[in-house]
Amino acid sequence: MNPTKDWRTFKAVFLRNLKLYTSYKIWIVSTVIWPIPLLALNVYQYMAFGTEANVSEALRQYGGIGMIVVGTIVYLLYNRLLWGTGVSIQSERWMGTVEVLFLTPTNKMIILLASGLSSLIEASWWIVSIFLSGWAIFGVEPQVSSLPAVIASIISTMAALVSVGVFFAGFFVLTRAADQLASGLQAPIRFFSGVAFPVSALPQMLQYISYMIPVTYGILALRKCVLQACDLTGIWIDLAPLWLMTMVFLILGKVALRIVERRAKKTGTLYLY
């Protein structure tokens, strides 16, 4: 453990990712415009079955269209962080730099964490974009009574999602199909975590799966404090599982990374691309 060295690594990876991301001007399109159709898709799934007033009435008990807005934000966060952290090793393979990176005397966990946190910069634009379009296009009005609760929810959700990304990154060292695995996880996570509907609407058996996914708790906590004016006392029951998952996934991720790095060096799969 060398804090100065780890900080240098973190800073270098973080800045590199920002430069790589913004090196083509088209990044503005993917950051600001891309999330809006996704939100609209989720909302119009309901609109297709009745007038806006009718649908809004039916949704009101769950927080109205705001429920979908919050669900979409957390899902996009998950998506971005899984790609930013979990697929970062695969991205190095695509760029042809995975070997030179593994040649350096660095803590690979720091590289993954820096990759995850740099992808949050992009994700934070998505949050702003979705909030603004939810407010301007769909008339969603947040009911916030406790700003600390909102901040705690966002940070806890992000921490849990980064740790999930670190966990997956370990396994992705072994395979060239990381992007396919990450893509394969998108639809199940979107379904089980209740992005566009309340998890309570699922059959009981499926709800057990939902409550093993951090995205579910992030959505629950944020819906409560953004749409139902809950404070910290009202959301701690959702935050506690997030903290627990953060610790568990980080520890598992660290162990997995060490094991699979050794295995990849033993079998010669590290440099496959």
Binding site: A12, Y24, G96, T97, P105, K265, G268
Partner: protein
């Protein structure tokens, strides 16, 4: 400080790969499902030592085990048998110390971030090697100047020529100022002028001025001959000869070398050359098989006796002799005398 910068003892690396499924129909399908694996020995019990400040060459054809050896030494692979030490550190149990002692330069287009500038690439890697910012910036300036890239340092790497990328590769391996450098085919695919710039930089600057210990792999025999203090010739994962270039060439000094360029040569006639009296080894390489153009290298006990026999045999078979000369033995002849193949076969 240990006497040897690099030492290996019976270093071995094996890989598993899927065996080819033969046959057709259900049998092939069944074999594909079973996924039978076969083992390949990429590096086979190799032992060598490299002295500090030495420029040591690993010469061999493609697939001989050069890159695997480099990957074992730089901790990208874990050996199956044997040991290796770099700067006195074990490559398995002291991997981080090994990484700090090394600069690794690979050939080709990979290993750089194309959307970053040359300067940004160097800064990024300097930070990963824990070089303080102030030192890193000064060092990067000096390195860019050494390879004459300072004027293009702030251009994105994707705009660089192949030769410029390779120069950047070389100085990327120097951002941590390591005592030992592993250069894996650093001139691969470069035009002659760019390759000469890299070779001069390695010999004059890295070895001459900076006194780095260098392990240099190549399949260009002229490069190994020109640069290296000692050379290990590697084939099929085994070191088959190790000495100075001069001593290696002395092993074939008693052999006369005849080189011929011919056209209209048929495969079956080319095989007759090796059976002529007085021929020790012969290698025929078809450069344009449709018109039978080929180069023939003959190792003979006495050139004056073999030359008439070879020309007669070729003319009888309808081949046209374009050039015929007796040459001095090169490192390639050392390789031919040991394996019966050319380095670039």
């Amino acid at each position: 400080m240990p006497e040897h910068a690099i030492e290996t003892d019976n270093l071995t690396k094996k890989f598993e790969r899927k065996a080819k499924a033969e046959g057709g129909g259900f049998r092939q399908l069944y074999r594909r499902i079973r996924i039978k694996k076969e083992q390949i020995v990429a590096v086979d019990h190799i032992s060598f030592q490299i002295r500090r400040g030495e420029l040591f060459g690993l010469l061999g054809p493609n697939g001989a085990g050069k890159t695997t050896t480099i990957k074992l030494l730089c901790t990208l692979l874990i050996p199956d048998e044997g040991t290796a030490k770099v700067n006195g550190y074990d490559v398995v149990s002291e991997a981080e110390e090994v990484q700090k002692s090394l600069g690794v330069v690979t050939g080709g287009e990979r290993g750089l971030y194309w959307r970053l500038t040359g300067r940004e690439n160097l800064w990024f890697f300097s930070q990963l090697y824990d070089v303080p910012d102030r030192i890193a910036k000064g060092r990067i300036e000096r390195l860019l100047k050494l390879v004459e890239l300072e004027e293009r340092a702030d251009d994105q790497v994707e705009k660089y020529s192949r030769g410029m990328k390779q120069r950047l590769h070389v100085i990327r391996g120097l951002v941590n100022d390591p005592p030992i450098l592993l250069l894996d085919e650093p001139t691969l695919g470069l035009d002659p002028a760019s390759a000469r710039v890299i070779r001069d930089f390695i010999k004059k600057e890295l070895q001459g001025e900076q006194n780095k210990t260098i392990l240099h792999t190549t399949h260009y025999m002229e490069e190994a001959d020109q640069l290296c203090d000692r050379i290990a010739i590697i084939d099929n994962g085994k070191i088959i000869a190790l000495d100075t270039p001069e001593n290696l060439k002395k092993t074939v000094q008693r052999t006369d070398v005849i080189e011929m360029h011919v056209s209209n040569l048929r495969q079956e006639d080319s095989e007759k050359i090796g059976t002529l009296e007085g021929v020790k080894k012969s290698v025929v390489t078809f450069t344009e098989s449709t018109v039978g153009e080929a180069t023939i290298k003959i190792h003979a006990e006495k050139a004056e006796e073999v030359m008439p026999l070879a020309t007669e045999s070729l003319i009888k078979s309808g081949a046209r002799i374009l050039t015929l000369e007796q040459t001095k033995p090169t490192l390639e002849d050392v390789f031919i005398s040991m394996t019966g193949r050319k380095l670039r076969d």
